[in-house]
Amino acid sequence: MMKAADLDAIRAIITRAKRWDLIFSVLGILSLMLGILTFVVLFIDMAIQGVPRLSYDFFTSFPSRRAENAGILSAWVGTILVMLVTALSAVPLGVAAGVYLEEYAPKNWMTDIIEINISNLAGIPSIVYGLLALGLFVYYFGFGQSILTAGLTLALLILPVIIVATREAIRAIPQSIHEGSYACGATTWQTVSDHILPYSSAGILTGVIIGMARAIGETAPIITIGALTFIAFLPTPPFAGDPPAGMFDWIFAPFTVMPIQMFNWTSRPEAAFTLNAAAAGFVLVFMTLAMNGLAIYLRYQLRKNIKW
């Protein structure tokens, strides 16, 4: 029979262990809060400084040497055009590669190399992509510091994100869908185009949005290709020139993008330019937040609605 003293000792041990449990819970919540709080502080700090600068003029003015006249017109137009090139090149390539790896690829050394290579590409720092673009696109292909160069660079950067998202979306489709399609005599491509792609499109879209949100904020590779920071004009509107040659004038135009404009303003010593940087940063964070939020919402809806 257990003695009272032993019982008390055991109870003491249990209480101590439970106290540590509680301490760790609090520590966990605090750590989580620190992360989330940093984000909130960053957002609020930027809003307090930047929002007063946000006006119609700020969005419709070119950068200027006078801080109070400067705006982000050339920056947001440039961002949209660069993103257009990025999306048009990265999405088809990434989805095609993802489909190949999931639906076609045989199990052999070639597939292994491609898979290891993709996970390795995802780990390469973005500035190295900038160096690649500088050597390859700017000088070797002679694209110069153009929208095309920037768009393609960012496309290479987000390619692994889109490939991985495509593969995950396809993997979520049950095997019975494939088997049903093949049983009806469909070829691999008919199965892919009529079943796999439509069913995985929402998942792929989520990945594309996350990739684009990353591309929008990327600064280092674009600086590395030597993009100008003071652009007080707009490129010719896309597809507006004389066809066929004039339609693509815009992709060879010099440009600036939002993060470059923000970097430019941040590196000036005058306080007034810092406010501009805050305003541009606020717009930038808002854009990436909106895109990430949309992706999270889409994924949530997807998980809720699809029951195979």
Binding site: P92, I113, I116, G123, P125, V285
Partner: protein, 317 residues
């Protein structure tokens, strides 16, 4: 097809139709092959990207190392490639990279691990559903914005605590970089912890262990390889991070391991050169490729280490 005997004309037409449709269509086969080849080309393109990266970096660095001996590059203690008295000691830039990364990891590894343990072992379903998207957003903020935050918000606060701190310093950049890396470390570690089978936890609880004891002595050891590869991904992110350092750490090359000083890193040096107007083919232009190659080799080593750890120490359940 026994009925066809009574109506020969009909059966003949059906038979002809069937055999016609069932015959192997060359066009369909060719189309399939072409599509497969195109999809393969898209997948193989990623290998081409890697080859192109290595080719460009090695080609330009090769020219650089014709002028600058490798021993100077590795052991010189000055980095002044743009001055008349040019020195090319990568150690100077490396010290900045290592110092800022160390500061970032001191923040990211403990916080990331605690968050992962909390989310995987302690938090309820609701907390996790809310916290994870928030952490994802933290990882989605553009790094230039973090740089701005480090320079204009964190540095002034640190200067109040430690008045001698210069306006540009590795400390503030490193701290913010640590916050930026938390989501990567936390989410990968958490994935590894959640992959540990429930039976192990149940066994531990059945022996009378508390949640914390289970988390520390059962779940963590079982998830070690995943947690280690999460740390390595964090290190690789820190080493490759550019804009926070370019904005908040100043860009003066400085051989120091003191985070309270300004300093240049490999990445911020590349940005600094790219901002200027260096002619294509000059030695200054080639230095950024040599620096880039160093960076690539470092991240490659970390990636391989992570890959090896995952393979070597993976517990198979």
């Amino acid at each position: 097809m026994s009925a066809s005997a009574s109506a020969p004309p009909l059966s003949a037409s059906i038979g002809a139709g069937i055999s016609d449709r069932l015959s192997k269509k060359a066009s369909r086969h060719v189309k399939e092959r072409i599509i497969e080849a195109m999809l393969f080309a898209a997948a193989a393109f990623s290998v081409f990207v890697t080859v192109a990266i290595v080719y460009v970096l090695v080609k330009e660095s090769w020219v650089f190392f014709q002028t600058v001996p490798l021993s100077d590059f590795l052991f010189d203690t000055q980095w002044t490639p743009l001055f008349d008295d040019a020195h090319y000691g990568i150690m100077v830039l490396l010290s900045g990279t290592l110092t800022s990364s160390a500061v970032a990891l001191v923040v990211a590894i403990p916080l990331g691990t605690i968050i992962a343990l909390y989310l995987s072992e302690f938090a309820g379903f609701k907390v996790r559903e809310i916290a994870k998207p928030f952490l994802e957003l933290l990882g989605g903020v553009p790094t230039i914005v973090y740089g701005y935050f480090a320079l204009t918000f964190l540095t002034p606060i640190l200067q109040k605590i430690y008045p001698d701190l210069p306006g540009f310093n590795l400390l503030s950049a490193g701290l913010v970089m640590g916050i930026m890396i938390i989501p990567y470390v936390a989410s990968l570690s958490e994935d590894a912890m959640r992959a540990v089978p429930m039976a192990l936890r149940e066994g531990s609880y059945a022996m009378g262990a508390t949640r914390l004891q289970t988390a520390l002595w059962v779940v963590t050891p079982a998830a070690t390889s995943g947690i280690a590869s999460a740390y390595i991904l964090g290190i690789s992110r820190a080493v490759g991070e550019t804009m926070i350092l370019a904005v908040a750490a100043g860009m003066q090359p400085n051989l120091t391991f003191n985070p309270a000083e300004p300093g240049a890193t490999i990445t911020s040096y590349i940005v600094q050169v790219a901002l200027g107007d260096l002619p294509h083919g000059s030695i200054g232009y080639q230095t950024i490729f040599a620096a880039g190659l160093t960076l690539l080799l470092m991240t490659l080593a970390f990636n391989l280490l992570g890959y090896w750890l995952r393979k070597r120490y993976r517990e198979v359940y």
